[in-house]
């Protein structure tokens, strides 16, 4: 009995086709939203961006595990936190979870079709981790004043150490990604990556 299966398959193909068309139109907005892309050009960019998403998520997980769970420096709810900060914090956290999952599947897809440039991916990973750390240190703690690194002490030395470490990670990541772009690797795309990687950060 496949009476119902026929129209179902038709609609699925239809949606798949329209989706393919939209991906071909290639909007950069989709990429920043954490969407896996399926383009033949720019395996380097895919490698960097997918790993960047994973780096962001992993850094967020480290933050959660080390500072919430192990050290107990953060609190679940800090009464000093303004409501806007709470909202941005929730959004960031939700986005991090989706980013790490999406990044993993994107990376797996690149690997599956032998389009993964390992060095560029490592660069993206470090850059993502560093970028999140700097964002957390500057926007969340300084501007929005949410989840101070350690409650009840002078935050300045902690923030400085945090932000410098984040900047160092970010710089290493960018350097790696750029070097991967400049390298004439066999796996690199013919239309070259240096331009795309330089535009990245």
């Amino acid at each position: 009995m496949t009476a119902g299966a026929e129209p179902r398959r038709a609609t699925r193909q239809e949606t798949a086709r329209t989706r393919q068309e939209t991906t071909r139109q290639e909007t950069t907005r989709q990429e920043t939203a954490g969407a896996p892309q399926e383009t033949a050009r720019g395996p380097l960019r895919g490698s960097v961006l997918s790993a960047l998403l994973i780096g962001i998520g992993v850094m967020a997980a480290v933050d959660e595990l080390v500072f919430h769970r192990l050290l107990g420096w953060h609190h679940f709810y800090d009464r000093a936190t303004p409501r806007v900060g709470l909202l941005s914090d929730g959004l960031l956290r939700a986005a991090e979870l989706v980013a790490v999952v999406g990044g993993c599947f994107w990376l797996a897809d690149l690997r599956r079709r032998a389009a993964l440039v390992a060095r560029a991916a490592w660069g993206g990973f470090l850059a993502g981790a560093g970028a999140l750390q700097v964002f957390d240190g500057v926007v969340d703690r300084r501007v929005l004043r949410v989840h101070q690194l350690r409650s009840g002490v002078d935050p300045l030395p902690y923030d400085l150490a945090w932000n410098l470490a984040g900047l160092a990670l970010l710089a290493c990541g960018i350097a790696l990604a750029v070097r991967a772009g400049g390298r004439p690797a066999a796996t690199r795309a013919p239309d070259g990556g240096p331009r795309t990687t330089e535009r990245l950060p």
Binding site: M1, T15, R19, V98
Partner: protein, 256 residues
């Protein structure tokens, strides 16, 4: 059974009944789908055992939510909300019940169902944004209004809230990551964005309740971290489906 539960086996009746009925209906349909199948193509495509396993785990979670293992009070309410509104729907929806129904239903019923799926009302309701608004909005409506206290006291209202959680949870799961047919479903970026928004709203509500409702701290933390796990699983469902779809469309290149 946890200590202090001496209600006897009758307390388990709703849980067992819900589990048995749902599991039986699905298993009977799977049996029919495997046995019939007019075309050879349909017969060779056997119903995936993973889907059956997914459905059965959904049934277990459903039973768990209705069982006397769930403690009374705020924590219990939140545990039931998580199980009925998030985890049970994941198991049930990932089992593709509508696809199964379309496969085994008589031709006329299947045609009517597909026609129903194409109506404008279904398009609007099954859009991820609408589904998220209904699902998260329902949760806000229950927890932030006197409905919450009334639900703790009145059993009929309590059941109504349980059904609301389950129905809206299934709708949201289907809209974001369900393998069942959903005409005019937006692409992966939109659905991922909606998932982020809904999860953020859920987490914000948990922290808000933590801060404003006295004695709600433990329940709020259960809600917060449980919501994270559910979001993670939904994201895996969404992207895994994308991964499979892309792989099917593109032949795997020979290793260079």
């Amino acid at each position: 059974m946890t200590p202090g539960q001496h209600a006897g086996w009758t307390a388990w009746l709703p849980a067992l009944l819900a589990m048995l009925v749902h599991a039986t209906v699905y298993l009977v349909a799977v049996r029919r789908a495997g046995r019939e199948g007019g075309e050879p193509a349909a017969r060779t495509r056997r119903w995936s055992p993973w889907r059956t396993a997914s459905w059965l785990s959904g049934c277990v979670l459903l039973g768990l939510a209705l069982s006397p293992l769930v403690p009374p009070g705020d924590v219990g309410h939140m545990v039931r909300h998580l199980l009925l509104g998030m985890f049970a729907p994941l198991g049930l929806i990932m089992a593709a019940p509508m696809t199964l129904l379309l496969r085994v239903a008589p031709r006329s019923l299947a045609r009517r169902l597909t026609r129903l799926l194409r109506t404008r009302v279904v398009h609007v309701i099954s859009h991820p944004v609408t589904a998220a608004l209904i699902s998260v909005g329902g949760l806000y409506a229950v927890t932030l209004t006197p409905l919450y206290a009334a639900g703790l006291a009145n059993p009929a209202l309590h059941h109504l809230v349980d059904h609301l959680y389950l129905a809206s949870g299934c709708l949201f799961t289907w809209a974001v990551a369900g393998p069942d047919p959903a005409p005019h479903r937006p692409g992966v970026p939109t659905r991922a964005a909606v998932l982020i928004g809904a999860a953020a709203a859920h987490g914000w509500l948990a922290k808000h309740l933590y801060a404003t409702v006295p004695g709600f701290q433990e329940a709020a933390q259960v809600m917060y971290y449980g919501g994270d796990v559910a979001e993670l699983l939904l994201a895996v469902g969404l992207f895994a489906a994308w991964y499979r779809r892309v792989g099917r469309r593109r032949p795997v290149p020979a290793p260079a």
